[in-house]
């Protein structure tokens, strides 16, 4: 596959030229943070960011999605028949996704696309998405991707990776899908060895800039019931206010709730992101709630990511080390601290 070089202006111009063939999402600076936005002629993308506030997970798995619709009009011959709401799987490209967030989609994929279950909308949307990663020259102090199987230039889950070399992007296709996308852009020149070497050296040096880590090596061998009953949960959970910041900002949280909304005689069945931090998450129809206490909910979040997932999929932890929950938790509950408590725990 051919690695290309684009000046930054060329790159944006080339993307704008391809916006009829693909829906292209790019990082744009809002007031205080960056978010992925659909590219239009007016879009001014900003690639000078550490990471977007929200991960681009919602572009594959929307926060709210209409699944089905139905009529409650008895005069309608098809009343009460639930029909799939037409979905849009137009090809899309997420340009500037950080390697941790692409890695995260792979971690979520085992839930939505496995031999037992296939979530048709997740599968089709991921298939129709091209992930053009932007390697991290300057990882944050709260990033710990390298200890969870990723890295600032990890290619896992990406179709293309961009190396930011100040004036130019080195654009390296990783999959066939990625190469097709780059060819369609039609511009850029072949990368020479000097620039390729420079990109590699920069990527290597950024690896050392990831200074934070979580220990995970001993999680697999812990007895799940012992960890569950560990004495530290009460202390970990004290400060938690049970908001959904950690779960909604997390690129690997996949839980959803299904709701019916009816207006007049028209009904929609919608799925919405849900959060295990909310008491409603586990409230049963009988009124019983197996996780009525906040300590139980906090424990669930960490046990799911750092123990149940580890045991079930045997592919490491359900965390890509993006550090969002560390940075934005309003009460500073830090997964790096909790992982250490869990990993070091001895009965």
């Amino acid at each position: 596959m051919v690695t290309k070089i684009f000046t930054k202006e060329e790159w944006v111009r080339a993307l704008k030229g391809a916006k009829d063939d693909y829906r292209i999402y790019l990082p744009v600076k809002h007031k205080d943070f960056h978010a992925f936005e659909l590219l239009s002629d007016e879009t001014a993308p900003d690639f000078e960011f550490q990471n977007t506030r929200l991960s681009p997970k919602s572009l594959i798995f929307p926060q709210s999605e209409r699944m089905f619709e139905y009529s409650l009009d008895e005069k309608d011959g098809e009343a009460h028949i639930v029909k799939e709401t037409p979905k849009d799987f137009y090809p899309q490209a997420v340009v500037g996704i950080r390697p941790c967030d692409a890695h995260a989609l792979q971690l979520v994929n085992v839930n939505f696309d496995n031999p037992q279950y296939k979530d048709p909308w997740w599968v089709k949307r991921l298939e129709s998405t091209i992930l053009v990663g932007l390697g991290c020259n300057e990882p944050c102090s709260t990033c710990f991707c390298t200890s969870v199987g990723g890295g600032p230039f990890s290619e896992r889950g990406l179709d293309v990776i961009l190396h930011d070399l100040e004036d130019v992007f080195l654009v390296k296709p990783i999959t066939q899908k990625g190469e097709t996308f780059i060819n369609k852009l039609g511009q850029g020149r072949m990368a020479d060895d000097t620039l390729s070497d420079k990109a590699e050296a920069k990527a290597r040096s950024s690896l050392e800039k990831v200074t934070s880590s979580i220990p995970t090596g001993k999680l697999r061998d812990k007895v799940v019931t012992e960890l569950f009953e560990a004495p530290f949960w009460e202390e970990v959970a004290f400060a938690c206010i049970n908001c959904g910041t950690c779960t909604y900002l997390c690129p690997t949280c996949w839980c959803f709730d299904i709701q019916d909304e009816v207006l007049g005689k028209e009904g929609d069945r919608i799925r919405n992101w849900d959060s295990c931090m909310s008491p409603l998450f586990t409230l049963e129809g009988s009124g019983h709630n197996p996780r009525s206490e906040k300590c139980q909910r906090v424990r669930q979040r960490f046990m799911h990511k750092l123990k149940y997932y580890v045991d079930k999929y045997e592919d490491g932890v359900q965390c890509s080390g993006c550090g969002r929950c560390v940075r934005y938790c309003p009460v500073n509950i830090d997964i790096r601290h909790v992982a250490k408590l869990m990993n070091d725990f001895a009965q």
Binding site: D32, R53, Q63, G244, Y248, N272, P330
Partner: protein
């Protein structure tokens, strides 16, 4: 503020050792700059973890609801007013509490600081005598704290605790000539249409994580109206109507109770200035009922009392 910290630790240690309190609720230093973690301390040997600086912005009154033990709690002006509200609303008993009062000089708006360093990552913050210094990889900058106060702290008229058992320092001077409702007045001048679009824009980034609600000490309902499922009052998607319904209704539930502590705004992960909703209601409570929340243990909030001699004519 090291002098406060020494005093806080001393009092906390004494309370635990003498058995006057079973637990102490305070803050410990956070793992990242400009965020501290609320902490519960039972062991007198752990009081060294207690701190006080300009990043203690999450309202500790949240952690009182329904507790049964005797609690030592640190409280500045707004936190103490929420404690009063909690006592008046029967969420905690005054006898259970030993309130360590803190004269407050305000909290630093971490978002404003990040803006001031062009969003570069801040790795360390130090403060002393009204100034603070932030450090990052290749920068160091010193600012005046007064220029970077949280927007609620910048207009605070009650920095000193209104109820306490012991103070850690002298009361701070109450600032003069501050109009706390300047921003509300600007919105009041808008037309209905302008207001609608102003508030629609304001809540548009909302992800319904409920951090604002959960950070609010007033929001202690066993089941919030947005979580009711039978009947379900509000849709759970991110449809703008539902999101606005949540914000508007929550604000109304805080009318005459909000102390403008700013915890809601501080907690919001997407930076929505949530106080724009509650402040108008604070202003109304002041204009209509001469009422500011949480100043007295002997008076109930205006919206949950009935008086035969009410001067408004709707009583008749």
């Amino acid at each position: 503020m090291p002098e406060y910290e020494t005093k806080i630790r001393e009092i906390a240690k004494g309370l635990l050792e003498d058995g006057k309190a079973d637990v102490i609720i305070g803050y410990k230093k956070g793992s990242i700059p400009m965020v501290n973690e609320p902490v519960l301390i039972r062991d007198p040997n752990n009081v060294e973890n207690l701190i006080w600086d300009s990043h203690c912005a999450l309202n500790l009154c949240n952690y009182l609801t329904g507790r049964k033990e005797r609690i030592g709690i640190i409280a500045n002006g707004c936190n103490s007013r929420n404690i009063v509200t909690h006592i008046v609303e029967n969420q905690i008993k005054r006898e259970q509490l030993y309130i360590i009062g803190i004269p407050c000089t305000g909290m630093i708006d971490h978002r404003a600081v990040k803006r001031a360093v062009n969003d570069r990552e801040i790795l360390a913050v130090e403060e002393s005598e009204g100034r603070f210094t932030v450090r990052g990889k290749d920068f160091e900058k010193t600012f005046e704290k007064k220029d970077f106060l949280q927007t609620n702290c910048a207009v605070c008229l009650h920095p000193n605790p209104v109820v306490y058992d012991e103070m850690v320092g002298e009361n701070v001077k109450i600032p003069e000539g501050i109009n706390p409702f300047k921003d509300v007045e600007e919105i009041e001048r808008m037309s209905a249409r302008e207001k609608w679009s102003f508030f629609a824009d304001l809540v548009s980034p909302c992800i319904r994580c409920y951090a604002c609600r959960n950070a609010c000490p007033l929001c202690y309902c066993p089941t919030c109206f947005v979580d009711e499922s039978d009947p379900q009052w509000v849709g759970k998607s991110i449809d703008p109507t539902d999101t606005m319904t949540f914000h508007f209704l929550r604000a109304y539930h805080c009318a005459g109770r909000c102390t403008d502590c700013g915890a809601c705004e501080r907690a919001c992960p997407v930076g929505i200035p949530v106080r724009h909703f509650t402040k108008k209601l604070n202003k109304d409570a002041l204009d209509l009922f001469s009422w500011e929340a949480g100043l007295s243990l002997d008076q109930r909030p205006p919206l949950d009392v009935y008086r035969v001699d009410d001067y408004n004519d709707f009583v008749e």
